[in-house]
Amino acid sequence: MHGRSRDRPKTGRRYALVGNPNVGKSVIFGALTGRYVVVSNYPGTTVEVSRGRAGFDRDSELIDTPGINNLIPMSEDEVVTRDILLQEKMDAVIQVIDAKNLRRGLLITLQLAEMGLPLVVDLNMVDEAGARGITTDADALAETLGVPVVETIATQRRGIGGLVKAIAGARPSDFTVRYDEDLEEAVGEVAGLLPETNISKRSLALMLLAGDASLAPWVERNLGEEEVAAIREVRHRLEAHYREALSSVITNYRLVAAEAIVMKVQRQMHVEKRPLAEKLGALAMHPIYGIPVLLGVLFALYLFVGVFGAGTLVDFFQGTVFEGHIGPAAVGLFDRLLPFPHIHHPVPTSPYNYEVTASLSTLQEGFRFVHDLFVGQYGMITVALSYSIAIVFPIVTTFFIAFGILEDSGYLPRLGVMTNSAFTRIGLNGRAVLPMVLGLGCGTMATLTARILETRKERVIVTLLLALGVPCSAQLGVILGILGPLPFTATLIWAGVILCVLLLVGYLASKVVTGDGEACFLMELPPMRLPQLTNIAVKTIARIEWYLKEAVPLFILGTLVLFTLDRLHALAALENLARPVVVGLLDLPPETTGAFLIGFLRRDYGAAGLFALASRGLMDPVQSLVSLVTITLFVPCIANFFMIVKERGAKTAIYMVAFIFPFAFLVGGTLNLILRTLEVGL
């Protein structure tokens, strides 16, 4: 949900923001560049690199990187950050440290120092540290490390000026972590085999000794067979000296050094009063009270997005604004500008149907073509804009607002605590809650966020479930809009079926997908915070902008496809072709074929098509329910498909779609059969 630009300066300086997850790198990026990247209160918001031009140096590039806990990476997003430092020459690395978690930050500082990179340390969130009785002597830290150290409260823009000044004084730290003799000797040996790179040979040697598997591509490109064999030999010889893995040994030396620095520069006073937010956070994870909290959150979400967004707002925009004013006005305008003999009669099935009252000349046929292109049954204004602006837009807007509040409160990781055991049954763990819930915003972004998961197996399962059955905000809103008028049982059946399908497919996938070791559930819980209105507003606007840029063109494209098919009389042929499935298997009216067809482009667009059919009374409740289950499970939208190709490979993506497409109809057909056999009345 954030844009990228790669307007790389040819001669200018390059800076990188580096640090632990959730320490405020993206906020500082925003403050320094004036560009917004999504900021949330949970670790792993940034999984991709953002680049921008720093305000203080017009000829520069500032890079925002995914959070890391160690420069020996353990997940794909951490690899991204390490690779940037390895492959791009930095004029300064700005390390952001959460002032209340200094030791964890210093573990990274020491590695950056080892790399020999020009460094500036920014102690951020000094307000939160202060509230917990923690004070850090920035001058003492600067003296110890030999680099500038500044304090900031980035969310309030405090200290940013000082940070900018400090960046100019960035220099390599003269602090060195000393390892034992054996290790130092091995480091020396390996360093002798390495070529010059952007980072020091010493640090690279330590990474190679630690057995960092993610370095393999670099090794292949930069080292000969002889060197690789020699390094392996040194490593094996060294491994015999220690009980623990070398990576643990190395990390331990660094942690000991970090701890010594913390002891020197930080003071903690005991604070009796813990913030109220902390109590709320505990409540949200409580084995008993956590459940009503979750239900409450869901209900609030339903009220705001389902009832207010998909009900009140859509009624207003679709019913009053579009069908009451814009639609008729546009029709009137085209009728006046491009006249041909026809009358519109507002039949309930489609307000834009008309009858031609006389035979048309060639010119009039041309007028009619343009008329239909804009205000016909598959017109740009009557369908593409009406669906995207009047139906989906209010829904995604309300969703993005609600979702932004949830993100910034710190609730989502706590939801992971509540759902961990359910996730373990489908081969995942509580960490997967982040990509899965993000999928309710946008499946494409969520697929990217699967990077925060440790194992390939988890990433594949999450990607599959997202593609299969997690409805994105737009689709979810439209679905709630259709379910709204139906009895509540319908919503329960829909949610129950989708949940069962996700669990079943997840369970089967966990048995089928081969894994590379079992991941343990270990997740950092950010503090609960009161969401800041400005961030919610900015974030919502950024996401709406993204929606308008990405979704509206696809809506227009989809409508054009339908329009063309209709012109070529291929739509009717397709409806006939799909009749055995759509009518035979699912018992749906043949018109729904069009909705499924555009569902290939975007599932929410398909759902919007169903919404239009349902609101004109073309489907009975059971038909609505069956069509909704089918469209929810329908193939992922084009953007998501390409994201799966990019992240998981074309083969995986094709396999997934090949499974999902027939499976969606199978589930829909089964549900139809059950509902009809049991004569469930809705």
């Binding site: 942690l255 992971g416 961990n420 559930f521 950092e524």
Partner: protein, 231 residues
């Protein structure tokens, strides 16, 4: 070490290695535990081919006496056997609980431990394990001096994190995850031996605080973090 004793025996030394004697003393004890003290049965059950000769040697040492066809431990023999059994069973507990070894290894390795642990180390192991009353198979572990000293505080000194109650604090003594990646991950989050953690809750997932970092983890990890309770 057992190999060594056999070699000596083959060379015709009459001075039986202490290992072989220990084994027989242990056997007499365990047989007695099951209510058997028949000499013939003892000889049959023993692994050592020359069990009869070893028992004879034990009699010479004043550790065993014979009454009818029964082999009984003398007071001195009893003392020695109690020590052996205690070391063996404590070792079993240490190996199976702390190091999570398979049963067959546990037995084999415990057999070695019983011969080599000195009294101080034995008491330290016992204290470390919290003076456990029984071995992993449910048989009694003879009490040592250390147990009497700590009788009032029967709670173990070092416990897995999952034995802590919500609200309690503990100082990490060591961590034993099976994969070193997990260990590395824990350490980068600030979980290292010496750090003090507060357990907030155990269900639905474990939530702990270390420094100012709140972490959620599952029982799999909580099982492998050993802490000393802190006030």
């Amino acid at each position: 070490m057992i190999e060594v004793s056999e070699k000596r025996h083959r060379h015709g030394h009459l001075d039986w290695s202490s290992h072989a004697k220990d084994e027989i003393l242990e056997l007499i004890w365990t047989q007695a535990e099951e209510g058997k003290d028949d000499l013939e049965h003892l000889v049959e059950t023993a692994n050592e081919a020359d069990a009869r000769d070893i028992i004879k040697a034990l009699e010479d040492d004043g550790l065993v006496t014979f009454k009818d066809d029964r082999a009984l431990l003398t007071k001195k023999g009893l003392e020695a056997a109690v020590g052996i059994i205690r070391r063996h069973r404590l070792a079993e507990r240490l190996l199976s609980e702390v190091f999570d070894l398979e049963d067959e290894y546990v037995h084999r390795e415990a057999c070695k431990f019983e011969h080599i642990l000195g009294p101080e180390v034995t008491d330290s192991v016992c204290t470390f394990l919290g003076h456990p009353p029984v071995c992993p198979h449910g048989k009694a572990i003879p009490r040592g001096e250390c147990c009497a000293k700590f009788k009032r505080d029967v709670r173990p000194l070092v416990v897995p994190l999952r034995d802590l109650e919500p609200g309690e604090r503990g100082r990490i003594v060591f961590m034993t995850p099976k994969e070193h990646e997990v260990l590395d991950r824990l350490s980068t989050m600030g979980l290292i031996p010496g750090s003090v953690i507060t357990l907030h809750q155990k269900r639905p997932s474990y939530v702990i605080r270390v420094g100012e970092t709140d972490l959620a983890l599952d029982e799999k990890i909580a099982r492998d973090i050993f802490v000393k309770k802190a006030e």
